[in-house]
Every structure is written in structure tokens, then in C-alpha cells.
């Protein structure tokens, strides 16, 4: 595992990134709210949180598939939010995305070969025979038969399709790949294969991953660091081992205790933290700490309902946004 060296230059840095979607009548969905983080070269950052907390939106902001409402996203020192048109298009070579749904992410009217060749054509990288060779090579790299390049996506299984999506993302030799729940639509037996493939590719091509998932068990294995998101905010960031051992935010704790442990003795002794209540609306997020209506250790109204806890260092390389992070029980 890559150990983080504090003074390394980040590959990507997000500063005060905000995304609001208009929701009619002057209201807006606060999908991402003043988010700050870094991604370092060669690491895998896991991004977890419940459905609707803004993970995909954040992924799409990083890859500039959506414009930010405010804030900056620096990629190798260049602010992506200030780029437009051709300059942004050129940058896309280094920033690729793997999508959640292997069915809707491949154009049903194009052959697999054409799908994988498209990124190459967009930048005029290879032509004719050389392009075909590269496409077949990419198919081989992701473990697919190179002679299936003239087949259509619907002839493939979900796992095979996700491999096609990965080959497409690799075609431009990107530095950063945002993988938005790349395995959640797949059978459990296939999930491990895709994770292994992504790990092998990371070593072979020095890739950096932002790996999005909605539960912690999936990212545990693959991530160097984990970011936990709740209702548009990052509530905890730490090294992967650290966050599982010593969560400093009650929400992370709750996510962790939702992971079943195979050993029934340990499972029985665990202090399961149950979340009460529904996830709050991102249109009208709760005041103060957004988690307070569901938090088992909240002190309302003061400070939890009127003071927003900053995301601050609680231990070395371990940040959390909670007024009472020392009261969060340790793992298991």
C-alpha cells in the first residue's frame, strides 16, 4: 500500500467546491457543499456515503462533466474550473471515468471496437491498422478476447461490459480515474474480479483512483485513504486502516457497524450503532451539524444544532467534522 508522505504534491486538489442544482421555486439541491480534499499520485481514495449524499456529483465535478457552482479544482496545479472548450477537452485525456451502470454506459449502436477507439480518434492519436492494434491490445489488457472487437455491447455480460468500460477509460493513458460505483451493479462473484483487475491495472499503469462506493466494506480492500461523505459534506478523511480501527465521526461508526462480520461471536458482542430517522433533505439541510437529527451522541441545540463542526485534524492524517469526536466508541 502507498503510504502518504505529507509533503508530496497532490495530483488533484479540491478547494471549497460547491454544487447546487436548481430545484424550482428558488429552491436548490445542495448536492455538494464546500468540500476540500486532495488526491495524491498513485493512491486510491475511497469515497463512501449513503445514496444521494453527492458522491456521483463530486465525481462528475472532478471530471468536469458538470460545472461547479463555486470553488476550484486543481489538477496538477491547473484550475479545471477555469478551463473551457478545447483546453478542457485536451485535459480530459488525463482524467477518465468508469461508470456505475455497465448497461447504460456503452452505446448500444456501436461495436465494442468503435467504443474503445473513440477516445483515440478524438485526439487523433492513432489511425488505421495501428489504431485497431491498440484497441485489440486494450481488450487483451482488460482480459477480453481481442477478436470480439466487432461485437455489440448487448452480447456481453455485465462484468464483461464493465471491462469494456475500463478499456475505454484506459485508452488515453489517463493519470486519474474516477470510478463511480464500478461494481455495485455486478454479481458478487464478478465484483472481486473487477476489483482485482483495477488493482493490477493501477500497478501496471501507475494510475490514481477515486473509488466511489456506498458502503465501507467495498472500499476497505482497495483504498489507501477513505473519505466519508454525508449530505454533501465530507465528514471524515483518514488512512484506510485508521478509519476502520478508529473512526472519529459517529456517521462513519454507524457505516462500519453496518458491515457484517463473518465471526458470529464477535458479531454478537459488537455495539451496533443504529441510525435513527431518514436521511435529511439536501434541499433544506439541518442547521449546525447536518448529521444531528440522526446522531446518537448529539447535544442539541448547543453545539450540534447551531454550530457547524469544521473538518479538522483529530489525529495524525486523520480529519473529522464532529464536536465530540473523542466520544465516538472505537471499532468493534
Amino acid at each position: 500500500m502507498v503510504k502518504r508522505v505529507p509533503d508530496r504534491v497532490p495530483l488533484l486538489r479540491a478547494e471549497e467546491v460547491v454544487k447546487h442544482f436548481p430545484a424550482g421555486l428558488g429552491a436548490s439541491v445542495k448536492a455538494v457543499e464546500r468540500v476540500n480534499f486532495e488526491i495524491y499520485p498513485g493512491e486510491t481514495v475511497g469515497l463512501v456515503g449513503e445514496s444521494g449524499c453527492g458522491k456521483s456529483t463530486l465525481g462528475r465535478l472532478i471530471t468536469q462533466l458538470l460545472p461547479v457552482t463555486s470553488g476550484n479544482i486543481f489538477f496538477e496545479g491547473v484550475d479545471l474550473t477555469k478551463l473551457g472548450g478545447e483546453k478542457l477537452r485536451q485535459k480530459r485525456r488525463e482524467l477518465q471515468m468508469i461508470f456505475q451502470d455497465p448497461y447504460s454506459s456503452l452505446n448500444p449502436r456501436m461495436t465494442v471496437g468503435d467504443i474503445i477507439a473513440e477516445p483515440l480518434e478524438n485526439f487523433g492519436l492513432l489511425r488505421g491498422r495501428a489504431k485497431d492494434k491498440r484497441v485489440q491490445e486494450l481488450l487483451k489488457i482488460v482480459g477480453l478476447n481481442p477478436y470480439f472487437n466487432n461485437r455489440y455491447p448487448h452480447e456481453f455480460s455485465g462484468g464483461q461490459r464493465q471491462r469494456i468500460g475500463i478499456a475505454r477509460a484506459l485508452a488515453l493513458r489517463p493519470k486519474l480515474i474516477v470510478a463511480d460505483e464500478p461494481i455495485s451493479a455486478l454479481d458478487v462473484s464478478i465484483q472481486a474480479q473487477i476489483i482485482n483487475l483495477m488493482e493490477d491495472l493501477q500497478k501496471e499503469f501507475q494510475l490514481t483512483y477515486l473509488f466511489i462506493a456506498h458502503d465501507l466494506s467495498v472500499v476497505r480492500h482497495i483504498s489507501d485513504r477513505v473519505m466519508v461523505m454525508y449530505l454533501g459534506k465530507i465528514v471524515e478523511v483518514a488512512d484506510s486502516a485508521e478509519i476502520y480501527r478508529n473512526p472519529r465521526h459517529p456517521y462513519t461508526k454507524a457505516l462500519l457497524s453496518a458491515i457484517p462480520i463473518p465471526d458470529p461471536d464477535i458479531q454478537a458482542k459488537r455495539r451496533i450503532v443504529h441510525l435513527s430517522g431518514e436521511i435529511s433533505s439536501p434541499v433544506n439541510p439541518p442547521s449546525g451539524c447536518r448529521f444531528h437529527p440522526r446522531c446518537p451522541i448529539a447535544q442539541v441545540p448547543t453545539p450540534c444544532a447551531d454550530l457547524e463542526p469544521p473538518l479538522e485534524e483529530k489525529a495524525r492524517d486523520h480529519r473529522a467534522a464532529c464536536h465530540f469526536s473523542e466520544k465516538v466508541p472505537v471499532a468493534v
Binding site: 462528475r60 471530471t63 462533466l65 477537452r89 485536451q90 480530459r92 485525456r93 482524467l95 477518465q96 471515468m97 461508470f99 456505475q100 451502470d101 448497461y103 447504460s104 454506459s105 456503452l106 452505446n107 448500444p108 449502436r109 456501436m110 473513440e118 477516445p119 478524438n122 485526439f123 481488450l139 487483451k140 489488457i141 482488460v142 482480459g143 477480453l144 478476447n145 470480439f148 461485437r151 455489440y152 448487448h154 452480447e155 456481453f156 455480460s157 462484468g159 464483461q160 471491462r163 468500460g165 475505454r168 477509460a169 485508452a171 488515453l172 472481486a192 474480479q193 482485482n196 483487475l197 493490477d200 491495472l201 501496471e204
Partner: protein, 301 residues
């Protein structure tokens, strides 16, 4: 478990077996269409119509322009299969040429409608914003003005040539297509494969032509198929009013109008073109239904 993809030997490819047989989506649709009896019969009727129209360009039993090739108001007989009209012209011959006119009007308008509607719909649906605002306003204005009024004004301004009539009808009929394509584009641009194309640096013109248009083609074909009989009927109506294709070119609508005053003594003059018109309209509509069922993406997956 298949791992180590970088060093996979061919036996280890997880992609060596395919989940489904190789079929293109269009082949699937064709198979479904063939199972639909009505659509199949309609296709044959329309093919026959096409053959008749082509033949009529080179040969008709009697010259259609010349009057008094037979007696006037003659009922169907062996000599004049469908009888003669008030000027003693052979109705069968005129019906053949009328097929040519109807098909040209129907297909011609739909080509213009498709070209205009697809372009406008793709632009509005993909770029949205102010462009969509302008286009949607124009569409609504065109919906607001009565078809007949637009067509009449254009025919009066441009004249009554076949090409002018086709243009005039297309001008009243492009909005449905534009709206359909706009809606399809709106939905398709949110699909992940379009996002994936943008993420890999695909330019908008290629996204529209390679990703959005091919996936909207099914509904476009269905819409155009239903548009053909509408245009044919509209032309027949204009001709019936005496504002259609310039006589003596026979249009089914004009032929029916010709016989109208003699409906009692020689009903065949009205009935023959009316039946031909109805059969053609029905065939196109059944074909449209068949195509819609065959191409419906909801049945896929």
C-alpha cells in the same frame, strides 16, 4: 478467478464466451416486424403501390392527358378497367399516375420534415438554454397557426408545382418531428454513454451524429412513417379544394373532386380514388404501428 490481466494467456480471457448470440439491434427489429401480419400485408400493398408508381412513369394503358379516349362516365369494363371520368379519360391510368403523386408528396414531405425536425430537435435538445428557448417558441408559433392557412398562403405565393406543394405541406408538419427529436435528445444526453463520450473528449457534432441520432432513429422512423399518410391526406384535401397539384396532373384528391358533382350517376369516379387513398393511408398506419412495436426499446434487454 481470472486475475493478472496484463499477462493473461488467451485461454484465460473472461470474454471468450459471449452472453448472447450476435445480432444487431436492427436485425432483431426486422424479425419482430415480420411476425406482425398486418404490417407485413401493408408492406406488400405499399411495395405494389411503388411498383405501380414507377411503371406509370413509363407506361399507362391509355394516355392520361388525352380526353375522350372513351365515352364519358363509363362504368368499369374490360376495356376501361376502372371506367372513365366526366371528360372520358381512363381512370385506371390516372389512378396509376396519382399513386406517383401521392408517394412523392408523402415521402418528399417527410424527407424535408426529417431533415428540418432532426436538425432543430438535436440542437435544442442537446444545447438547451437560450437556443432551446428560441426553437421552442418558433415551434409553438407554428403550432398556433392553422395548417390550412399556412399551406394556402404558401401555395398562393409559390404556385402549384409538385415541389412547391411538398414544401408547403412540410412547413406545416415539421414541428412534431422537431419536438420528438428534442425530447429524445433531452433524455439521451443524460445517459451514461453520452457522458462517457464527453469524458473522453468527443466533440458535440460527433456526440450528436454517433451517439444521440442513432439511438433516436427508431422513434424517428416511426414518426416519419405516420407522417407520410398525413401528408398524402393533406395534399388530397388541398387538391379536393382545387388548390393542390396543378391539373392536368392527376392527384387522387382532384380525381375525387372531379367526380363529386356526378356522384349519383357515376359513383365510381369518386369511389376509385377514395378507396385507393384509404388503402394507402391504412397501409402506412399499420406499417407505422408494426414499426413502433418492432423498434420499441422498452421491449429490449
Amino acid at each position: 478467478m481470472a486475475t493478472a490481466p496484463g499477462v493473461a494467456t488467451p485461454e484465460e480471457y473472461v470474454g471468450d464466451t459471449l452472453a448472447r448470440e450476435q445480432t444487431s439491434l436492427w436485425a432483431d427489429a426486422w424479425r419482430r416486424l415480420r411476425r406482425n401480419r398486418l404490417a407485413l400485408v401493408s408492406t406488400f400493398i405499399l411495395l405494389l403501390l411503388v411498383v405501380v408508381a414507377i411503371v406509370s412513369a413509363f407506361w399507362t394503358p391509355f394516355p392520361i392527358w388525352r380526353q375522350s379516349v372513351g365515352p364519358t362516365y363509363d362504368p368499369p369494363s374490360l376495356h376501361h378497367l376502372l371506367g372513365t371520368d366526366q371528360r372520358g379519360r381512363d381512370i385506371f391510368s390516372r389512378l396509376m399516375v396519382g399513386a406517383q403523386v401521392s408517394l412523392q408528396v408523402g415521402v418528399g414531405t417527410q424527407i424535408i420534415v426529417a431533415a428540418l425536425g432532426i436538425t432543430v430537435g438535436l440542437l435544442a435538445g442537446y444545447f438547451r438554454g437560450w437556443l432551446d428557448g428560441i426553437i421552442s417558441t418558433i415551434i409553438n408559433i407554428f403550432y398556433g397557426i392553422p395548417d390550412l392557412l399556412v399551406a394556402l398562403i404558401l401555395v398562393l405565393l409559390l404556385g402549384r408545382g409538385l415541389d412547391k406543394i411538398i414544401f408547403a405541406i412540410a412547413v406545416t408538419r415539421w414541428m412534431d418531428m422537431a419536438r420528438l427529436v428534442r425530447g429524445q435528445t433531452f433524455a439521451l444526453r443524460e445517459r451514461e454513454f453520452v457522458e462517457a463520450a464527453r469524458a473522453s473528449g468527443t466533440r458535440p457534432n460527433k456526440i450528436l451524429s454517433r451517439h444521440i441520432l442513432p439511438n433516436a432513429l427508431g422513434p424517428i422512423i416511426v414518426q416519419a412513417t405516420f407522417g407520410v399518410p398525413q401528408a398524402i391526406l393533406f395534399e388530397a384535401f388541398l387538391s379536393f379544394l382545387g388548390l393542390g397539384v396543378q391539373p392536368p396532373t392527376p392527384s387522387w384528391g382532384a380525381m375525387a373532386a372531379d367526380g363529386f358533382h356526378a356522384l349519383r350517376i357515376a359513383p365510381h369516379i369518386v369511389l376509385v380514388p377514395a378507396i385507393a387513398l384509404s388503402l394507402t393511408l391504412m397501409a402506412f398506419n399499420f406499417l407505422g404501428d408494426g414499426l413502433r412495436d418492432a423498434l420499441d426499446p422498452r421491449q429490449k434487454r
